[in-house]
Assembly symmetry: C2
Homo-oligomer: 145 residues x 2
């Protein structure tokens, strides 16, 4: 778990003001990869005491714009955030419980894939989400045969 001392330079390097709330939110995202907004708000409050949800939403937006965190939002799921931003890795999402796991990208740099026909779009990122069942959710289905 990153300490406040480790988080501060990240904020300053991104040209952002350093506040208790920002340090706490960024630390919490590091601690809880793929956590949804509600979980993050709870975790921040556990650390700082009362903090408005609005502050957390604002901070997440700012951190996302600054490239310090990445927002992911699989269908039918709340927004989730992760602090792993340097590489262009991907995700596996469980259709059963919604758990998210990281998958390394073979290429590493975005966009790791390029479309065959881009319709004139300027593509800068290829986001890949693998859908399936995690080991826990897949187990019961084995009883079907």
């Amino acid at each position: 778990m990153p300490t406040a001392a480790a988080i501060e330079p990240l904020l300053r390097a991104a040209g952002l003001r350093v506040t208790r709330q920002r340090v706490a939110v960024l630390a919490v995202v590091h601690e809880h990869p793929h956590a949804d907004t509600g979980t993050l708000i709870d975790a921040v409050r556990a650390e700082l005491g009362p903090v408005s949800h609005q502050a957390v939403y604002d901070v997440l937006q700012v951190l996302t714009d600054a490239g310090l965190v990445r927002r992911i939002q699989p269908s039918r799921s709340l927004a989730r955030y992760e602090a792993r931003v340097a590489d262009n890795h991907h995700h596996i999402v469980c259709r059963g419980c919604g758990t998210v796991a990281d998958v390394d990208c073979a290429v590493g740099a975005a966009p790791c894939l390029t479309p065959a026909e881009a319709h004139g779009f300027e593509v800068d990122e290829a986001e890949v989400i693998y859908w399936g069942l995690c080991p826990a959710c897949a187990a019961p289905t084995r009883a079907n045969h």
Copy 2:
């Protein structure tokens, strides 16, 4: 645009009852690929007269479960639906205006990609979303140099 006569067999083949609402919704999804829920509701009402939003939500859910339409939901976007389901194609989303375009999948069948390390997940689909700027949204940025 598919006629009611062309839509009906699709519903019956999927083992679904045929109702005016279902025919209209499925036709509208064919007509407006990648349209969001609000647009679909408006289009259905333009065709049938007053229809509850609830009916449209229900029908879309049923059609999705039956595999007649596919739901896509890029981050920061409302749910969108498309009727192209046979192939495992992908999408390009414009960061500027949210426009969605289809991209053919080189492989065709799901999952077209398999993760290097699946953490024990049973993967059945790889969803790829390319992010970038459509020609219209990219144009203004050219004035920057």
